[in-house]
Amino acid sequence: MQSTVKRPKILKIVCILGFFSIVFSFLAVFSPSVKRMGDWYPALFGLIVAASFISYIGVWHMKRWGVQLFIVTFFVKEILAVSVSDFSIAGILFSVLCIFPMLLFYNRMDLNL
């Protein structure tokens, strides 16, 4: 029951870049600099990394829930970043550049899990 919708090349690139960013974000979860931001900050950051990873899997399989989860995670991540004054323009730009092609092919994506 794999999705039969063909994955566009641009989404393939976005997902591969996303998976690479997840590897670095995963390592950042337990980095000394993230740990210094508070007892619960690594847990919240880890939750965001896990959600981002799952959303990339969803997009890779051309599922709408992947895009939805990615957008929700993006906003939660930015709210958290603002709350700890760790705002990064490059991070926002990367996410926006990912969201744009995802939305472009959103209608072609599968509704089911």
Binding site: M1, V29, F30, K35, P42, G46
Partner: protein
């Protein structure tokens, strides 16, 4: 509305319960495989958390030691507190020693100072009855030493003005010395022999514990500087002579250093073009040096632990792929009986998270046991902090989700007919 909410909650709890039960059964059925795959996570969590625990404990100990020195105290010394290969010791060797008469000039002329004390350190043998302790650090301080150094007296009192100015043979001893020399009696009022000279104990320091800087008062003897003249040569440069100056409340160390620099230059009669021939040290110098050291150790631990965890994650992902492959026909039967995709997904995801969590908990338990054993044996308090426990659980769950999601999602997407047919 309330009924629907309850129904949804019931479904969710049933789903979680069934998923956990499936996961436990699967893990118990393949014990050896389970143990081998969680070993990677255990080692990874152990490596990261032990490094962070030791670093946190060292930092805590250092902070305590630095606080005991005083955070708004400036140390007037011959040499600056610098470390590293470029330390120009030959330049500092030529400088004049900080001598006792300088103290009076600082007390009289330094408006930013609330207190100042001249201090030297020596090594002596302390005796009481048949008990004898060698290489005890004797701190010889002037009257205002209690105002510039942070310490508490558990029993007895500090020297009074007369004892200090006339150089009476009195001493305050550390907790370890007190319990070693006087195991069954109160040390206050008793006599000890310091390098053969009789000294009356007037106080005992409150127990501080081991210090990373080696300046714990537990193993020290404090005597008035005027009495110390009879024990040692107080002008001896090898005794690390220094003047500790505390800033007035509301003034910063920078204010104090600024005034002391001018004052010391005039005392040493330095011309405007001459370089300073003294050093004004402060505890923040120690903290800064150690912060960078701890930073490097932390990064090394993070990299080593990070790779261990990544390897552990690959192990779990591998085992989950095998697990899905093995149970493909069971998945097919479950789906043909009406199991939804999310149920199959959650079943395998829970299994991965559960496996990873067990590995993480074992890793944390090993760290905890080490903190108990090491804390007693090295004499320094090593604490597994709440933040490190949270971090351990976070990493475990995260690695379980990341490594288990792909196999679990693959299982949930299987076609029931093809899945049942598979061998």
């Amino acid at each position: 509305m309330h009924g629907i909410k309850n129904k949804i909650l019931k479904i969710v709890f049933n789903l979680i319960g069934e998923s956990i039960s499936f996961a436990v059964n699967s893990l118990v059925a393949n014990k050896l495989r389970t143990i081998l795959s969680l070993l990677g996570i255990t080692i990874g969590i152990f490596a990261i958390i032990i490094v962070f625990t030791v670093l946190d404990s060292l930092e805590l100990n250092l902070r305590k030691s630095v606080e005991s020195l005083g955070d708004n105290v400036v140390f007037v010394q011959k040499e600056p507190w610098q470390f590293g290969p470029d330390y120009p010791w030959w330049k500092y060797e030529k400088r004049p020693s900080i001598d006792f008469p300088v103290l009076d000039k600082i007390i009289k002329n330094c408006n930013s100072a609330s207190a100042a004390a001249f201090v030297i350190f020596s090594s002596v043998t302390v005796k009481h009855g048949s008990s004898s302790i060698e290489n005890v650090t004797v701190v010889c301080g002037s009257q205002q030493y209690d105002k510039v150094k942070n310490f508490e007296i558990a029993e007895g009192r500090y020297f009074n003005d007369i004892e200090s100015s006339s150089g009476r043979p009195v001493a305050i001893i550390g907790d370890v010395l007190a319990s070693t020399l006087f195991p069954f009696e109160n040390p206050v009022g008793q006599t000890i022999k310091v390098n053969g000279a009789k000294v009356v104990v007037v106080g005992v320091f409150k127990k501080e514990g081991e210090s990373i800087l080696g300046n714990s008062s537990d193993t020290q003897v404090l005597v008035p500087i005027n009495y110390a003249r009879t024990l040692v040569d107080i002008h001896d440069e090898n005794l690390n002579p220094q003047i500790m100056v505390r800033a007035k409340p509301g003034l910063t160390n920078d204010d104090l250093i600024s005034e002391l620099t001018g004052l010391m230059r005039s005392i040493h009669k330095l011309k405007p073009r001459n370089e300073d021939d003294f050093a004004l040290n402060q505890t923040s110098l120690i903290s800064t040096q150690f912060d960078s050291l701890f930073g490097v150790i932390g990064i090394v631990g993070w990299v080593i632990g990070g790779f261990s965890i990544l390897v552990g994650g690959f192990g779990i992902a591998n085992i989950m792929f095998v697990s899905v492959k093995e149970r493909t026909n069971i998945i097919g039967i479950q789906k043909s009986l009406g199991a939804k995709n999310y149920f199959i997904l959650s079943q395998f995801l829970f299994e991965a998270v559960f496996l990873s969590l067990i590995g993480g908990v074992i890793g944390l338990l090993i760290v905890y046991l080490i903190t108990l054993v090491a804390g007693d044996s090295i004499g320094m308090e090593i604490v597994l902090s709440k933040s490190n426990v949270i971090l351990g659980f976070t990493i475990s769950i995260l690695i379980g989700v990341v490594s288990g999601f792909v196999p679990a999602y693959g299982a949930s997407q299987l076609d029931p007919v093809e899945a049942i047919r598979s061998n």
